[in-house]
Structures are given as C-alpha cells and as structure tokens.
C-alpha cells in the first residue's frame, strides 16, 4: 500500500513537470480541430473564441471540394507507398549485410549513409530539379512526374531504413540460422525460412515510418511537382496559405486535420518501436 502511495505521488509530480510541454504539444491539435468545425463567420470575429457556437461538420465536405482533397490524398498515397516499397526493397539486403557480416566495407558504408543524411533534399534541390529536367522519357522530362519524387524519397530514406532494420536484425539470434545450416539447409534457404519470418515485424515497423516520412515530406514535391493534378497533400495545403492575403482558415485547418490525424494515430501506436530501433542503431 505504501509503495502504491509513493508511486501515486511520483505520478503527480511527473505529470506536473510534463504539463507545460503537453499543453504546447496538444495546443495545435486543439486549434486544428476547433477551427475546422467553426462556422466560417465565427472564424474571423474579434475578439475570437476558442469554442464554436455549433459544430459545423459540413466544413469538411466543403473543404474536400474546394481543396481537391481527394486528388491530393491519392497522390500522397501513391508517392508514399511506392517510395516506401522502393526504400525497403533495397534496404533489406543492406541491413542484413550490416547486421550479419563482418566486412571491410561496413564502416565506410555506415559513413556513406551518414553523408546521405547530411545531404538533405533541400540542399540538393537545385541539382535534383536539373536531374529531373535532364532525363527524357517518351515525350517529356521527369519534372512533374510522380516517379521522380518516388525515386528521390526512396533514396533519401535508405539511411533511416538500413539503420532501423539492421539494429533490429542484430537482435535476432544468429544461432537459429546457423543450426539450420547444420541441418543441411543452404545459407539462402536458411535466411528465407528462418530469418525472414522473424524479421517481418522490424520490416513492417520500418516501412510504416518510411511511409510517414514520405507522407510528411515537402521540399521535393514542392520543387518537382508543378501541376495541381499531381500535388500531394502537404504541397496542396501549403498552396492555400503561402503568399496569400485571404486564407480560408477553417478549410485549411479541416484539411490539415484530415491529412494529419490518421498518420498521428498510426505513429502513436508504433512510437515505442522507434525508441528501441533508433537507440540501438545510434551508438552501435
């Protein structure tokens, strides 16, 4: 009983200490939600109020039309899913090599991955644009094509994917595969039969985070994608705000909320895997 009391006291202290941060973190979500459901004429009144007089859910339907949310949503899905598949497909073998082999290329490759992290897309954006403009396929070049964004995202996510997966792969005991070899199983077959099933959770988690990265990325699409029909959510919504004098904030907030919430829920559900994966990889 005493211990319970002590834990309770500690809980109160911990929550009090975290309260300011929690308020700041939740503040934008509250703003998003409460602005999104406000009737338009209540958004721009002075002095403004936090709470709407009625919850106007129709804002979401209006926004869907006005923002062309459906098109942007489909584009975001296409780009993020394809980039994830690409990044994971090339990263799995690399992560396996980093986790299971001792070879002279290991250190340099690690360094190379760190360098790719340093050369963020925004630094290379001028060159990326020229690259896309230079490659001609069929009638036109690769500017304003999803494939150019997909390849770029795929490449920039390799470091993260290899990092995460190799640290998880390293926690799968190698004896399992080794005993499979002893039983006359080839190395490749042992990997396929014994290692891969155990590694699937790590791959799925990594894939989801790569997906979220792609979903949230901005600079590359902002630069490479020109037409409204091909824009992803982040760019489509930014275009409603950037450099404009009149902004329909209730619609913008409805759009940001819809674009953000599903990913946040997914993230909240999976964040504990990040703690493990990144920390293991960070100081190895």
């Amino acid at each position: 009983m005493r211990i319970e009391r002590r834990k309770l006291r500690r809980s109160v202290i911990c929550w009090l200490a975290l309260a300011p941060l929690a308020v700041v973190v939740l503040f934008p979500f509250a703003v998003m939600f409460l602005t999104a459901v406000k009737p338009a004429d209540e958004v721009f009144v002075y002095p403004a109020h936090w709470l709407p007089s009625t919850f106007r859910w129709a804002n979401f339907a209006d926004m869907w039309q006005a923002v062309k949310f459906g098109v942007a949503l489909r584009n975001s899905l296409v780009v993020s899913v394809s980039a994830t598949v690409l990044a994971i497909a090339v990263s799995i073998p690399a992560a396996y090599a980093m986790a299971r082999y001792r070879f002279s290329g290991k250190g340099p490759y690690r360094q190379f991955l760190l360098v790719t992290q340093m050369l963020s897309p925004i630094l290379l954006v001028i060159g990326l644009f020229r690259l896309a403009a230079m490659i001609h396929v069929g009638g036109g070049n690769m500017v304003d094509k999803h494939i150019s964004v997909i390849v770029a995202y795929g490449a920039f996510n390799i470091a993260f994917a290899v990092w995460m997966m190799s640290s998880y792969f390293a926690t799968i005991p190698p004896d399992l595969e080794e005993s499979a070899w002893l039983e006359g199983c080839g190395r490749a077959r042992a990997v396929l039969k014994v290692f891969l099933p155990l590694a699937v959770p790590a791959m799925v988690v990594t894939a989801i985070f790569t997906f979220i990265n792609g979903w949230n990325e901005f600079a590359v699409v902002y630069t490479l994608i020109r037409s409204d029909a091909n824009k992803t959510l982040t760019v489509q919504i930014t275009d409603l705000v950037a450099g404009r004098y009149t902004v329909e904030w209730h619609q913008v907030m409805a759009a940001t909320l819809l674009a953000t919430l599903p990913v946040s829920v997914l993230f909240a559900w999976l964040q504990r895997y990040l703690v493990k994966g990144l920390a293991l990889g960070a100081v190895k």
Binding site: K7, R10, S11, A17, L18, L21, A22, V25, F27, V45, W50, V90, P93, A94, Y96, A97, Y101, F103, R110, Q111, T116, Q117, M118, S120, L123, L124, V125, I126, G127, L128, F129, R130, L131, V151, A155, V162, R187, N216, F218, A219, I237, T238, V241, A242, G243, W249, V252, T256, A259, T260, V263, S264, F267, A268, Q271, R272, V275, L278, A279, V283
Partner: protein, 295 residues
C-alpha cells in the same frame, strides 16, 4: 563456415549494392550539377550562358541578405538544438520513471514527430494570427497582454517564435535517443549510489549525465544537421520576411533558385552550406575520437 569463405566475403558487398547504387544515383548527379552551376552563369530557365569562375560566390558574399542569413542560421541552429537538448534531457528522465500514465505521456511527447513540419508550421502560423489567432486570444484572456501582439509581422518576434516551434518538433526525436540511452543504464549502480547516500542531483551529475554523454553527442550532431537544413517552418510561417528579416540559408537558397531565378547563385549557397556541414562533421570527429572509431 570456412568452406565458402570467399562467397561470404563477396556476399555482403552484393547485398549493399542496390541501396548504394540508388543513393549514389540520387546524390551524385545533383551534387555534380550544383558544382557545375555554381561556376557558370545560368539563366532563370536553367540555360548555361557561360563559365564565370567564382562570380556567383562573389555576388553572394557581397549580398548583405546572404551574410545576414548566414549569421541568422547560426543563431537558428544554436537556439533550436540548444533548446531541444535542454528540454529533452529532463523530459527523457521523467519518461524513464515508473509512473501512472507513462504510456500516454510518451505518446503525447512523441506526437509532434508524426505531424509534417509543413502542417505544424501552417497551424502555428494560424495560431499566431494577429487578431484571430488562439495564442493572442488565450494570452489576452489570461490578462498577460493588453492588445493583439503582431507576432509574425516583425522579425524580432517572428524569429524567436519560429525557434520555439523548431524546438517543439525536434524534442520527440531527441527524447527518443535519450530514452534509448537511459534504457541501457544498469539500475543497480543507482541502488549502490543511494546506499552510499548520494543525493538525486549528485546521482544525475555523476552517473546519469556521463552515461548519457554519447547519446547527447549523437543527438546534437544529428539535430545540427537536421535543423541547419530545416526548410518548411520558416518558409511557411514567414517566407523569410518581413523584409528578409527571418531568412536562414535554406530559405534564402530556395528563394534565389526558384523565386528570383538565380540558379547559379542558389547552387553556390548549396555548396557553401555543404562546406559548413562538412567542417562541422570534421570538428565533431576531432573532438570525439572514440566515437569516430566505433561508428
């Protein structure tokens, strides 16, 4: 295992080739192209007009906006990374305690990570709106300010506000790294310290901090790289304005390259930034010889 030693030596190389090739493809050409453009006169449509040596760089260093942006980038990086580490260490220590609702607390702390920087910037821009933003509404309701504060209309307030937003979005990643570090700290040394009568502050300074040291260094390095390159927050909230007063190098680069139609100068900014990052990394490896060997 010795039977196919040669095969084993070759295998890891083959396994890393696909990812290496893809990463190299997307980095090597743009990098080459940036170097090329930076020493040429380039029209706004990307047409090369001729070799111009270091003229682009000369133009840059003569541009007071560039010089101011470069210095502001230093403050931006120091402010965001410093603030992030100062907030993250205590938060990670708290989240490492055993208390009721810890799972929920972790989720809340991690939440900003899940939101696109762009979306975060849009929501904060709206929140800091002069008349209708909820920040002014709340502060006024609490009696902390009299009239609306024009947060984003002057660089003097807009820049600190954006640094705070930068800290907020960097905390989750940093806390994640620290939590990983704390989970590797054996608990029995604390027991021993407590038996020896060491106070909480002493334990923190003599045990926790040294053990967290490599993780703090790692977080600082990665955050410096990310924050130095961070584009969406400032681009969405102020676009570098008012009157170029909140530009950092990345926003200056983007404006030069895609708004003002000076790809040559923009490429020169890219190279300048790469050089800075490179120097920073070298400096880090110098200071951290042990870390460098392990990496």
């Amino acid at each position: 295992m010795t039977s196919n030693a040669r095969g084993r030596n070759l295998a890891p190389w083959l396994l890393i080739i696909p990812s290496f090739a893809l990463a190299l493809f997307i980095i090597a050409y743009p990098l080459y192209n940036i170097v090329f453009q930076s020493v040429h006169e380039v029209s706004r449509f990307g047409i090369i007009k001729g070799f111009c040596g270091l003229d682009n760089f000369r133009l840059l260093f003569a541009d007071p906006v560039f010089v101011a942006s470069a210095w502001r980038t230093v403050w931006w990086t120091l402010g965001v990374v410093g603030g992030t580490v100062l907030v993250s260490v205590p938060v990670a220590l708290i989240l490492n305690q055993d208390f009721y609702g810890r799972g929920a607390a972790r989720v809340i702390v991690m939440l900003p990570w899940s939101v696109s920087l762009t979306m975060t910037a849009i929501v904060w821009r709206w929140s800091f709106n002069d008349e209708y933003g909820m920040v002014n509404v709340t502060l006024q309701r609490l009696g902390l300010i009299q009239g609306p504060v024009h947060w984003l209309a002057t660089a003097g307030t807009a820049f600190p506000v954006m640094i705070l937003v930068g800290i907020l979005v960097s905390v989750p990643f940093t806390v994640t790294i620290f939590l990983g570090g704390l989970s590797s700290v054996p608990t029995d040394i604390y027991e021993a310290a407590r038996i020896d009568g060491a106070g909480a502050w002493y334990q923190f300074r003599k045990l926790t901090l040294p053990l967290l040291r490599p993780f703090i260094n790692m977080a600082i390095v990665l955050n410096v790289i990310y924050v130095f390159n961070s584009f969406p927050i400032i681009w969405v909230m102020t676009q570098g304005g008012p009157s170029n007063g909140t530009h950092i190098l990345v926003t200056y680069l983007y404006e030069k390259g895609f708004r003002l139609g000076k790809p040559g100068e923009a490429a020169a900014v890219s190279l300048f930034m790469l050089a800075v990052l490179f120097c920073f990394t070298l400096l880090y490896l110098k200071i951290q010889p042990k870390q460098g060997e392990n990496a």
